[in-house]
Symmetry: C2
Subunit: 205 residues, 2 copies
């Protein structure tokens, strides 16, 4: 018998718990905790949250240039003239772009694929924003390097390889972010594949 | 630099992330993950979620009898004639009531205190639904036992003691849920206090 189907607080709370439990990483217990927190919060907060949720769906679309989530037709990064237009960093998801921005290590432009190649999950090239990337590059010159910053796993590497093959005709340098033992990480606890990669990609000091 | 203050996806998403991050147990990363999941979900889901959130605040109040969260003036359990009216289980929070219902081990009525005595946190008797409990018991006869099912910790025990003292004049039996080594739990890993309680409350086989 689940909290969702249990009698008591009545429909509104049960419905909210049910809906929250559908979010990723939110189990039934978390959904209940969140729902009760929302119930206890002041009206101003719940109104704001309720509005924000409908807002993101209504007002948030994809940037026509980089395919990142944007409130406008073109996102703030693509509009930022100070960003280097000669380098484009290709990421799988918006949160990857956010992570890079948080780190503040990249001053070029981005392109969000919204996924990685994953044949087993039925995700092929057509599911990703690859044609948009191609169009963007064919459109105007000036782009000298494409850095593929997909995660260093099978899907991420396959996607990186695919992108490099796809852009070969354009004669633009396609690079891949380095992977190896995480900075601050313990070699002792690094997994086999990471160590293998770390050795393979070793560089002169 | 935080994800919330980072540029990019624009205001709607940032605002949603900020609001979600205010929920208990939701850090910035989780808030971002949830917000992006909401963005990706279909319009029907976001509308439902948005409505459910405003609904709970508008339509959810406290049951006039047991003080549990209820969509109506009286909750479904208090209205359920099959529930034993002679036993009332006093719990701290709605989720405790839900947990007992999930277990399906109690067929009596409930009373939700909405907290436990915690002087350090400034929670005194007046902050709890104790007067409501007293009024409920003085109101009508027929209640033979009050089971205090607050958690077996300092605050929970203090609250249980307070309730028993409070109801002494009414001559109603006040009992406390048993506590000890959890069923299925390993004695080896039980903490000192639990073992102490388990020995103290030992019973004849």
């Amino acid at each position: 018998m689940s909290a969702v189907s249990d009698p008591g607080p009545g429909d509104p709370l049960r419905r909210l718990i049910k809906l929250l439990a559908r979010l990723p990483g939110i189990g039934e217990k978390s959904a209940m905790r969140l729902a009760l927190a929302i119930v206890r919060s002041n009206a101003e907060y719940t109104r704001a949250l309720s509005e924000a949720i409908s807002d993101v769906h209504e007002h948030l679309g994809l940037c026509s240039v980089c395919c990142d989530l944007a409130a406008a037709e073109v996102c703030s990064i693509c509009l930022d003239a100070r960003r280097d237009p000669t380098v484009i960093c290709v990421v799988a998801q918006p949160q990857d772009r956010m992570a890079l921005e948080r780190a503040g290590v990249f001053r070029g432009r981005y392109h969000v694929l919204h996924g990685v190649l994953d044949p087993l999950a039925g995700v092929g090239p057509s599911e990703l924003k690859l044609s948009e990337l191609l169009a963007r590059l064919e459109g105007r010159a000036g782009v000298e390097e494409i850095i593929v910053a997909t995660s260093p796993n099978v899907e991420g590497d396959a996607t990186a390889l695919y992108v490099s093959k796809l852009l070969e005709p354009l004669g633009i340098a396609v690079t891949r972010i380095a992977s190896g033992v995480a900075v601050g990480g313990e070699l002792e606890y690094a997994d086999m594949t990471t160590l293998h990669r770390a050795l393979e990609d070793r560089r002169k000091i």
